[in-house]
Amino acid sequence: MKKNILILGGGQAGIYAAREIRQNDSESNIKILGEENLLPYERPPLSKDFLLDKKNEEDLYFHSSEVLKNENIDFENVSITKVDFENKKLFTKNDDVYIYDSLLIATGSENKKLSLYNNLKNDVYYLRNLEEAKTIKEKVLNKNKITIIGGGFIGLEIASSLSQLQKKVTVIEIGDQLMGRIIPKQIADLVQSTHIDYGNKIILNKQIDKITKKNANFEILLNDNSLIETDFVIAGIGSTPSVKLFENTNLNLDNGIVTNQFCETSIKNVYAAGDVSNFYHPLYERNMRLESYQHAQNHGICAGKNIAGVKTEYTSIPWMWSDQFNLNLQLTGICNDYDEIIERGNDINNGIIYFFLKNKIIRGACGLGIAGKIGRDIRITSKLSEKNTIVDKQILSDQNQKLNKLIQK
């Protein structure tokens, strides 16, 4: 049956869902509604190669407009400001109406903002989209001392890029370690020493009390009364799922849009995928929300299948990466629910991995190494954790023994 399928949000989950629907359904109308006037693009390079001028705008798009045209997928640049789930309608500010039979919500997430006095609101920069990346890139050109508030992935990746552009970078983190929300302390400490080796200053356990504008520069007062003078301030203090639109509807929200393992929300024919969804994972038997490239892609594909009537459970093992300086960090599975840790390797040049086990079964792993050195073992860990395999700890801890054997029959 020919349907009207709308995808709200033109990001990574949205585009993968659209193409997957088309693979399974040649008839229905598929339209992506995106508020950025850009075809769906990759965000990871924004804090890395785009700032470093190693990639430009054209390199970021997932697909050209030709691909979308050939697959008969519409993209419309609009911002949706109201939803009416009962009558299956979406509205813009000017009351343009979009009607759907099936809706995928893929609105992603948005950066948390510092609570600041109004006169400083435009002086603190954030990074989520291409527009903001362009602004930061242009503005830092003639600045020297840069302060980054927040020692999470995005803040640290910006710190790495700006350091490579010869800026003097200070990172202020409120917690007692970097990337504290998900990365184990062992790895976070290694990342911290790398930043310090490259000349970045890392301040932990400190809060911002006040930011004062001094001519074109700023003074940042910390809660221990120390002062930091800086030319430019960027904040990366975490993000929240983009759900404001749905707050007064009967869509079930709890740290994002609650979905089951089929990407279905509490409302019939309404699905959600990517950063915005707090989805049920059958392997871990609980809900989780992930902000990662691989998840946005695979979750989008899974939602696409389900929307097209191919009932498919989402069982992907979580995986994410971060690139800082010449290091590649990767995390797979769950690294915060364990009763045993096993270490593999002790030299960043060959890669160091921590495996997290519970009841002898690998639940997750987090590793750090010179580009490429940990990927294979992290990937093998994903596969092992998927199958609940009990593995010989001696093999895990011995870098001379290849892990390939563990997944080959």
């Binding site: 990466w321 940990i374 990927g375």
Partner: protein
């Protein structure tokens, strides 16, 4: 086809099945694979960023990049999964007297 273009990589037992070895020749790096139905060769560096595929995982007919999990078909070089989108170059391989040769143009 001139004989000179065939370069000796090593003996057939230098690669385990469903695995690969890196082979450097002049200033280029290649990966040579042993799959269930024979030997194959591709460029040794990912088309996404300059990362050695020798550290990647071989699964069936695919090589997965160790950096961002871009996936390529080993036999055709086709980029199958982003962030890799540019295909990987492949090279002819022959086995002669238990020795592997690849043809570099």
């Amino acid at each position: 086809m001139s004989e000179e273009n065939w370069i000796e990589v090593g003996s057939t037992d230098s690669i385990e099945e469903e695995d690969l070895i890196r082979f450097d020749h002049q200033d280029k790096t290649f990966c040579v694979y042993k799959l269930t139905d024979g030997f194959y060769a591709t460029d040794g560096i990912c088309t996404h960023e300059a990362v050695h595929l020798e550290d990647g995982l071989v699964m069936d007919d695919e090589i997965e990049c160790p950096m961002h999990q871009g996936i390529f078909n080993i036999k055709s070089g086709e980029a199958l999964s982003p962030p890799a989108c540019e295909d990987l170059k492949t090279y002819p391989v022959k086995v002669d007297n238990d020795k592997i040769f690849i043809k570099i143009d």
